[in-house]
Amino acid sequence: MPVSVDYVTRETASNLWRNRLMTIAAVLTVAVSLSLVGAALLLRQGAAKAEVDWQRGTQVTVWMQPAAGTAEVNAVSTELTALSYVQQPCIYRNQHQNYKQAEVLLTPDEFSVLKVSDMPTSYWCTPAQPQDAKEVIARFSGQPGVRNVTAPLAQIHSEEEAITVIQAVFLVVALVLLVSAAVLILNTIRMAIFARRREVSVMKLVGATNWFIRVPFMSEGMIQGLIGSGLAAAAVYGLHVVLNHIGNPDNPGAVFTQMRMTGWEVFATDVVVVLVGVFIGTLGSAIAIRRFLDV
C-alpha cells in the first residue's frame, strides 16, 4: 500500500511541532557539526587557492653569455616565443638593465669590480604551470650563447609540499568532523525515536507496514537535516565573508588575501554541506528506527 503524501505531510508537521525540543536539539547538532565540516572544507579550498597564487609568480630566467652574438640571442627569443607552455611575452633585459639591478643586489665592493660589458643579457619568462619551469631549463641549458637557466625549483617544491600537507590536514579534519557529526546526528535522532517507541509499537499493532511507519520519520529527519545544514551553510558563508574581509587586496602577499574565494566557490561548499545534512538526516532516521520496527 503506498503511503499517502497527505498522511506523511500531516504526520511530519505534527511530530516536528510536538517534539519541538528534540527537533531543535537535532537541528542544532546538525548545524554545529556541519558548520565545522564546512569550515574545514572552505579552509582546504582556500589553501589550494593560495598555492595557485603563490606559484603564479614563479619565473624562469634564461641568462645569455655576455659575449653572445645577436643571432644567438634572437634564436633564443624566437624559440621562447614559440613555446606554448610559456606565458607571452617574455621580458628581455639588456646588459645595462642587469648592471643596474646588480647595483641593488651586490655590496659596493662586489659591484665596483663589475663592468657593463661583463653583464649578461637575459629573458624572464613565466611558465603556464610552475612545473613547466623544468621543461624550460632542460630546453635551453647548453644551447649556443646561453650561460645558464635558473628557476626557484627548491622553493616551488617546498611550497607544494607545505600546501599538500595543509590540504591533507584540512581534509582529515573535515572527514573526522563529518564522522563525528554523523554519529552525533544519528544519536540525537535515535533518542528522539526512542522516546516514541511506544507509538511505533501501536502502529505495528494495528497493521502498519514498516514503510508506513518509516516514511514520516525519514521525512522528519530530512527536514531536520535540511534546516540544520541550511544554518551550517550560512555559517560557512559567514566565515567566507570574514576571511575576505581580513584578506586585504592592497596587500597581495598576505595569506588571507591569497585565500580569498569567489562566491561560486563558497556556494559549491555550501551545496556539499546541505547535501550531506539532508543525507545524514534522512538515512540517520531510517537507521535509527530500524530496531524499533522489529516487533
Partner: protein, 243 residues
C-alpha cells in the same frame, strides 16, 4: 478460525511458556483464557499476533499457517486481528477520533470510509461526545473503550484482549465485557486473557485454563475455578452470530 497444533514455546533460560498446546477456537466463539501469572496466557496472545514464533507446532488462523508467514505479510495478518491491552496503548497526542481513525488510515482506507465508520464505532462504545478529547482527558474505562473501538473499527475476524479489565474497577470492567460481548454477537471471534474471576463467572462462556503452559481445562460455559459441571473438557459449538 484459530487452531493450535502441538504448539510449544520456550523463552531464553528454558522457561516453557506453552507446552504442546492443541486447541481449536471456532468462528464467532467467545473464549476466556485463564490461569495464574506465568501460565502462558500472554504468550498465547503474542503467538496469535505473530509477535512471537513457536519452537514447535503449527498455528492456523482462518486456515492460514501464520508460523511460516513471510515477515512482510505480518502487518496484513494483524489487520484482521483487533487487540485490546491492559494499558490501552493509545496514541497520547491524537484525539479519540484520530486514534480510532488511525487503524483505518494504516490500511489505506479512503477518507469517506474513515469519516463514516469511526463515528459508528464511537457510537457503539458510547464515546461520540468525546471524539475530540485526548486520551489523557478520559477515565481508564473510557480509554479502554477507545482501545476497543480502535480494535473493532476495521471489523476484524478476531479480537484479542489481554487483561482488558486489569486496570479498571468492577463496574467499568463489566461495561467493557458487555461491549466485547456485543462485538462477539456481530460474529467476531473474541479471545480474552484474564485474571478477573468475577467477570468470567458472570459471563459463563467457554473457559480454557492454562497451568505452566499446559491446557488443564477446556470448559464450555465455564467458571474461573474448577467446575465439574456439564460441558467440561469438550467445548460446545459456538453461539450463532447475529450480524
Amino acid at each position: 478460525m484459530i487452531r493450535f497444533e502441538n504448539v510449544t514455546k520456550t523463552y531464553k533460560g528454558s522457561t516453557v511458556a506453552l507446552r504442546d498446546v492443541t486447541l481449536d477456537i471456532d468462528k464467532g466463539e467467545f473464549v476466556f483464557m485463564v490461569g495464574a501469572s506465568g501460565s502462558g496466557k500472554t504468550t498465547f496472545i503474542r503467538l496469535l499476533l505473530r509477535e512471537e514464533l513457536p519452537d514447535q507446532g503449527r498455528i492456523l488462523e482462518a486456515g492460514r499457517d501464520i508460523v511460516h508467514l513471510p515477515k512482510w505479510r505480518v502487518p496484513y495478518l494483524r489487520r484482521n486481528i483487533g487487540c485490546v491491552f491492559q494499558d490501552f496503548r493509545l496514541l497520547p497526542n491524537k484525539s479519540v477520533f484520530e486514534n480510532v481513525a488511525f487503524a483505518l488510515e494504516v490500511i489505506g482506507r479512503p477518507k469517506h470510509v474513515v469519516s463514516t465508520q469511526v463515528p459508528q464505532v464511537l457510537d457503539l462504545v458510547g464515546l461520540s461526545k468525546k471524539r475530540d478529547n485526548l486520551p489523557g482527558e478520559l477515565s481508564g474505562g473510557e480509554q479502554q473503550r477507545v482501545a476497543v473501538a480502535r480494535a473493532f473499527v476495521n471489523r476484524p475476524l478476531i479480537l484479542l484482549a489481554d487483561e482488558p479489565t486489569g486496570n479498571l474497577d468492577p463496574a467499568t470492567s463489566q461495561g467493557i465485557m458487555q461491549l466485547l460481548d456485543r462485538i462477539n454477537r456481530t460474529g467476531t471471534t473474541v479471545v480474552v486473557a484474564t485474571h478477573d474471576e468475577i467477570l468470567v463467572n458472570w459471563m459463563r462462556r467457554r473457559v480454557v485454563e492454562l497451568d505452566h503452559g499446559t491446557v488443564v481445562r477446556d470448559q464450555a460455559r465455564g467458571v474461573y475455578g474448577i467446575d465439574a459441571g456439564p460441558g467440561a473438557i469438550e467445548p460446545e459449538p459456538p453461539a450463532q452470530a447475529t450480524g
